[in-house]
């Protein structure tokens, strides 16, 4: 277990470096939900290409390194309905709140932003309740 914590810390530092690089380089906040959504908006072509570049690299880098680094499977639920409902909730929720774990969590908390901290508390609390309800009461996961 403690080895997982060290991997977590190392990976976390890399995630922080990615956010710091995008912020200091391009002056943009690294929010995964916003960057993914940005690929489906064509308002500004220049920004659209940047979003596409970020999301493509986010997809390709793990594809190349998942074997060499011996990364385990995702263990995601095989239940299509559960996964689809979860995906819809995550997509809708992150757009309504204008951010997810990377935007509000990583970038927001490190800025000591009240919005980021409030959002993070809300989704962690809702997530914990969700696991209790769906796992321990309904047995869906």
């Amino acid at each position: 277990m403690p080895m997982d914590w060290i991997y977590g810390l190392v990976g976390g530092v890399l995630i922080g470096c990615a956010g710091a690089f995008l912020l200091l380089g391009n002056g943009r906040v690294m929010g995964a939900s916003g960057l993914v959504f940005g690929m489906f908006k064509t308002t500004d072509r220049r920004i659209w290409i940047e979003n596409l570049a970020f999301v493509s690299a986010l997809f390709i880098a793990p594809m190349l390194f998942v074997r060499p680094l011996n990364i385990g499977p995702t263990h995601a639920s095989e239940n299509v309905i559960v996964v689809a409902i979860a995906g819809l909730a995550v997509g809708f929720g992150t757009r309504l709140a204008n951010g997810c774990t990377s935007g509000h969590g990583v970038c927001g908390i490190s800025r000591f932003s009240l919005r980021g901290i409030a959002a993070t508390m809300a989704y962690i609390l809702a997530g914990a309740v969700s696991v209790v309800v769906f796992k321990h009461f309904l047995g869906a996961i």
Binding site: A61, T74, G87, N98
Partner: protein, 147 residues
């Protein structure tokens, strides 16, 4: 240059996510599962990510971005209803599947059909948000400006 920075940042983010174990839904759900076998890994990931980010935000006070004129302004909306309701919806889905937007994309190449279904549903959810938002504000008869 801006495209190159986006590529490097996205790649670093992806590597950080797979190394930290955040593409493993069992680890994420384990962190949220306070009544089960609690897994603290996510706290280490968040803590690790804070270090470079706090320094980066400090740096924004004394310099400008490499390729832009200024840094993004803080959102002045304050803690409003959309922020909390949206985050609650997000949290419910996050707990249910153990995936959030970053890891969903990072694990797309090795997450099998579940990963593809999740990412597709997530994008559909994102694209229908504005419509749902208009619908809800209409039914509550409170006209409000969309972001």
């Amino acid at each position: 240059m801006r495209i190159l920075i986006s590529l490097v940042s996205g790649a670093l983010f992806g590597l950080g996510l797979i190394i930290s174990g955040m593409t493993d839904t069992k680890k994420v759900q384990g962190w949220l599962d306070i009544f089960g076998e609690w897994d603290p890994t996510l706290a280490f990931v968040m803590g690790g990510a804070m270090l470079p980010m706090v320094i980066a935000w400090k740096a924004t006070q004394v310099r400008t971005p490499l390729t832009a004129d200024k840094f993004p302004a803080a959102n002045t909306a304050g803690i409003d209803r959309d922020l909390i309701i949206g985050s609650v919806f997000f949290g419910i889905g996050w707990g249910l599947a153990g995936l959030c937007p970053g890891p969903a994309i990072a694990s797309l190449s090795f997450g099998g059909s579940s990963g593809v279904v999740f990412a597709s549903a997530m994008i559909i959810g994102m694209l229908s948000t504005r419509r749902l938002q208009t619908f809800f504000s209409k039914t509550e008869n409170t006209p409000k400006t969309l972001p």
